[in-house]
Amino acid sequence: MDAASESPQAIIKSDVNAPEEDKSDSGDDEQMLDWSKIGPKASKGVQKALPKRGEKAFEPIAVGPSAYQKFTLDRAREAMSEALSTPREIQTKRLSQAIWMPQYSLARVTDARGTVFDTVGFTIKRNDHKHKRLELLPEEVLYMVERGSMLCWRESSNVLPNIKEDVNDPVQLVGDPMSAQQCFAEMLGVGGITLEHYQVYAYLKRFGYTVRRAQSLPGYHEYAVYRHALPAVSFLSTIRARLTRLWNSMNSIFQINWWSRFHPGIASYFQRTVHYPSLFKSFRVIPSFTPSRVVPLEPSSNYNVFFHVWKPDSPWNRLTPPRPDFDIVVINARTTPVPTIDELTMLFGTLPNSSYQPTQKVPVKKLQTPSGLLARYLAWIRGLLQSQSTAKGNAFAHLKAGKKSVIFAVVDAGTTSLYRFNEGCFDEWPMI
């Protein structure tokens, strides 16, 4: 790779000040943002494609910035400022409105426009109103205000009821008007949501995902949350687990191939059937471990799943949400360390097996047919105890995907990175 990048090239690069262009994928995060492509004029439905990133130079010229470098930099900064100063302008026809109720840390929607409302909030009937109304969580209000589709009012006792002057005006003074800035200050840090949570929420919403809380709202059973079915710990399964353990320990005593304790060469001299699988098997002192009891994380733990996320095209229902496509844990990079094995085990204990399935299930072929009555009987019991035998397929795809997976969204001062943690399943896919 090094040699390739250092070899001379016949193509003259357009930018002479860029001797080292970053073409690698890993440098992608860092390519220049060409703000000129996203100016306010681009909003008029002309530009459909996503904006692209441009090219960067390696460093400023040592003597001082050249005229060309200064020009491009100024232009880039200007374009950025222009894009940033675009107002949140919207036709009142499409403007949604809500009233923020600080005492509940929720906002009730007074005017809902558009299909975005299909996947947010929950409907609730409060005592002060005779109908059910849609109420939004802080992150949902904030996101809509921020993207410029909602005007949020703050509940106020200073609004006179007879303040209506123009009945035809869709915007009526129903509370204190809130700016996006005020929403940021007031809606975060309350109702169980931090700035980091919000940043992850907005990041996913901008991509079009459906994002909902994974924990139920305290005091509001109306907010439906999908609950992963915990592995049922029935009496029968406990007995089966015990029996399996007993069986394994008996096996290990009676079925030890003593020859294999010798050097393979010697062993094969005495016993012709020695081969690598049996050798490796005898090395597995502890074959695998599965915790028999699910101990969930403390409710206050930072590693609890915070968001359930669905892909944009999956059908979704507010009352009975389907199984989420992703479980997301939100972590502040500066204050929260990587979870310990214990914490990960507890976290995975409450999650279901991932929905990733092998395309084809091929039944396991028995390599040796046991002879003799006792051996056949033992094999039958073994089959009974280990009924979920492994299905062969492409082992590596399964090993990489793991049995269960959870996504950690790591936020450091406004920058978000998403990492997937998979629970290994090497015991289910032995190579030999």
């Binding site: 426009r113 909602m150 609004v159 869709p170 996006a180 800035q181 406004g414 920058t415």
Partner: protein, 293 residues
């Protein structure tokens, strides 16, 4: 926007995080003080992407400490600054809004059509229905998707362009300001730096900043910051920096290998930045993969 204190820039702090809400301030911080921060908001006119983000600009805690210490900026407690408006203030706000509106309609109705006028909407609906009919004809066995709700637009209601306020330039906004970090710390608005590690980070950051470097967040590159020789808008970073808060801290060889490998893969050098609290000194070492074999 609001009255500044001897030309200093207000940093709006809520939940111990500092935001910049003015476009001019963002530009000044960048051009004059080479402090970049991170844009974290949704751009209202391009809201379905994550490449370009908008206001507010979130500052790294190290940047806040630096800016306040250098007298470039001051801290505003944003939670405490939003007072409850009185009835008169509210009526006044509404009056002002209506007056501005009265000047507007002539322009919006004639020259500049709104993003979708009724005719376009009708056409679009027709097109949608046609498409759906085609789809249905093709795949009859499929369950019909939920019908999109007809847009709730009535011709009676007057529609006009409304601007959702971005910043709090209301008459009831009284900025509660703190000029020094100590003041802000005593009131509980700001607490960074708190631990020796955080102090070391601030010192190293300040030292690199004084040498003219631009610093960006290093989370995606496995370090604390990215160090740029010029504005990140135009130049690549040369280093990924990690702060070693004490000269006696153990660094395992495997970390060195990871740093070297990662730096090479991203065409950067890894910079180990040491801070000696006793001597009040910084020291720097860069790691690069030697590339033998």
């Amino acid at each position: 926007m609001e009255d500044t204190i001897d030309g200093r820039i207000p940093l709006h702090v809520s939940n111990k995080t500092a935001f910049v809400w003015s476009v001019e301030d963002v530009a000044t911080l960048r051009a004059t003080h080479h402090v970049c921060g991170v844009l974290t908001g949704t751009l209202p006119h391009a809201s379905q992407q994550n490449v370009f983000l908008g206001l507010p600009l979130e500052l790294l805690p190290e940047e806040v400490v630096l800016l306040v210490k250098q007298g470039i900026a001051y801290i505003v407690d944003d939670n405490a600054s939003h007072a409850t408006p009185t009835t008169e203030q509210l009526v006044q706000w509404n009056e002002k809004r209506r007056q501005a509106l009265a000047k507007l309609p002539a322009r919006s109705s004639s020259s500049l059509p709104p993003t979708l006028n009724d005719e376009a909407l009708k056409k679009r609906l027709e097109r949608q229905q046609k498409k759906e009919a085609q789809l249905l004809a093709k795949e009859e066995s499929l369950v019909t998707p939920d019908q999109p709700k007809p847009p709730a637009s009535s011709s009676k209601e007057q529609s006009y362009s409304f601007t959702i306020p971005a910043t709090s330039d209301f008459s009831w906004y009284n900025a509660k300001t703190y000029i020094t970090l100590d003041e802000a710390r005593t009131s509980g608005v700001w607490s960074y730096p708190h631990t020796p590690e955080e102090v070391a980070r601030c010192r190293v950051f300040e030292d690199l900043w004084k040498q003219g470097y631009f610093m960006g967040n290093g989370l995606r590159f496995g370090g604390h910051w990215l160090v740029y020789p010029g504005d990140p808008l135009r130049f690549h970073s040369h280093f990924v920096a990690t702060v070693i808060p004490s000269p006696v801290m153990t660094i395992h060889p495997i970390e060195i290998i990871a740093f070297g490998r990662l730096g090479t893969a991203t065409k950067k050098s890894h910079l180990l930045c040491g801070w000696d609290e006793e001597k009040q000194e910084t020291s720097y070492y860069s790691i690069e993969w030697a590339g033998f074999g």
